[in-house]
Symmetry: C2
Subunit: 354 residues, 2 copies
Amino acid sequence: MNMKNNNLVIMAGGVGSRFWPMSTPECPKQFIDVLGCGRTFIQLTFDRFKGIVEPENVWVVTSAKYADIVKEQLPEVPVENILLEPCRRNTAPCIAYVSWRIKAKNPKANLVITPSDHIVMNTDEFKRVISSALSFTAETDAIVTLGMTPTRPETGYGYIQADLSTASLRNSSVFRVDSFREKPDLQTAQEYIKKKEYFWNSGIFVWSVKTIVNALRVYQPNLAEIFEGMLPVYGTDKEQETIDKRFPECENISIDYAVMEKAEEIFVMPADFGWSDLGTWGSLHTLAEKDDNDNAIIGNEVKLYETKNCIIHTSEERKVVVQGLDGYIVAEKDDTLLICKLSEEQRIKDFSAR
Amino acid sequence: MNMKNNNLVIMAGGVGSRFWPMSTPECPKQFIDVLGCGRTFIQLTFDRFKGIVEPENVWVVTSAKYADIVKEQLPEVPVENILLEPCRRNTAPCIAYVSWRIKAKNPKANLVITPSDHIVMNTDEFKRVISSALSFTAETDAIVTLGMTPTRPETGYGYIQADLSTASLRNSSVFRVDSFREKPDLQTAQEYIKKKEYFWNSGIFVWSVKTIVNALRVYQPNLAEIFEGMLPVYGTDKEQETIDKRFPECENISIDYAVMEKAEEIFVMPADFGWSDLGTWGSLHTLAEKDDNDNAIIGNEVKLYETKNCIIHTSEERKVVVQGLDGYIVAEKDDTLLICKLSEEQRIKDFSAR
């Protein structure tokens, strides 16, 4: 595998409304040090690919309003690799844009597409899996998605059903996809995890730029036409102006619907590297380090009395005293404070909208 | 009554630790707009005496470190009327200092002494009672304390037992004091309020400067000697330097122990003007305006869901969302947040000390 062809695409346009008030439209969770470890999610994502992708081959697609945050948090990424969407159109237009853009620069490029706000606990295993997938797509026209070995009957993720009888000859840990499944109810999720062929859909994709561009031409000709038509402006000072005009014309559609569920040559690579998309306060509580009373505390000056099963998330310098809470989120950022039962966290999106 | 002789003394040296974090050693509760009405407690105290005492006859005794806050909050008060204690020595030395200081300026002065952090709901009735008391002490050597008609068996206040058979000839609403009673237990408090002769000790005193100076000479000769000895420096640029040296020598003693419980000519004037010393979050909850779920909310951007019997105290611009709390204090100020059961509020002093 020629590392020079490896490219990383970080999708960083989300607004993270379920993590309000820590995550706000001005600074969503991918730009926040959610775990209190000193690096934001997008920085941790970038860090995971060190040794696999050169910094000049890292691309970030995000909303125009986050351009400055990305430049500040990822100074290693060339400014021209930060692609700015003028509006939100889900993952397919995002991936189409960056794919044509990369192809214009390097038609032999080999890509990993990843969200910017996931957690990976075992970075060594992550690197091994990603390298293996990139080797595979460097030599094939395969569309590869990473499938996470499920550890619980999670109803918050989509699932991928693999055909485990079809290991690829080139890579024995890559299998054909039988079907994609929407987020299941609990009973269905429990059935899934009893079987060996169901995996969590991580939203991490690996493919060559040639493969994804061809797939988009076949399954999304309207999208393909827009980005093909922009070939003369990629890398020029007309690019932003043109994308601002044409991007809003794109259909709002996920890459799963646009390509994955339609294409034939779809593969899944099972993996187990301590992954979480940490979409909710509850999952942060599950993952974070906890004290003896099962409190996850992010903040330096937090004192708890008769308090258990809580998440306290505040800034370093903020002094917080909590007495007598059980099972609550206490989260604050800038000028906003949220106190909410963990069991009611699905309502946070509504709270933040008011 | 000659209004020109009326003087007001506001004692404003307290640290208000039970109201942490709203009240801090840097800015205790008398300097805070606790009720969210646009005026701080000391400003409300000043306001209540308009029409009774001229601003140039208003005196504030406080800690040296609060000098700037007092100047800022009470610009009407002459700077030379702000007396600065170098250390805390309870109410007797405070009152002794200001009494000798006022006597040096006007030996005919007639004084009201008041704490700076009490609440009065009925200001008209307050003015009527104070004016009546001042008329009485202008013509007599009486030491008068205001006794509040109790509305509940409060165990947080001291009580005054009046001899209701001894109405003064000069003022039919002034009675001799039979005894002062410490904060009672609940059973005792219940017995007190069944009888008509028990009143809450408000800590508001009325007397002529001549009377209090004489009383201090008789009952606290050591204190009297210190402030008598300072006669040459009052109103000069040597005053602060001298007080800084001599004030620490004063015994730490309350005016109740120092004079009230020793003197003979002590009177109580019963009054009922919606008074509270608002010493605790619980009393704030009792007094403040409440929503339909018995929540007292101070703050402009507070949204509550399934929340009742709480106090939410925050700043105007702070956005707060609370879901699912019953009977809690949520209070924040500057860089500090407190969440605590109302029933545990006696521990707040400890929380703040850490």
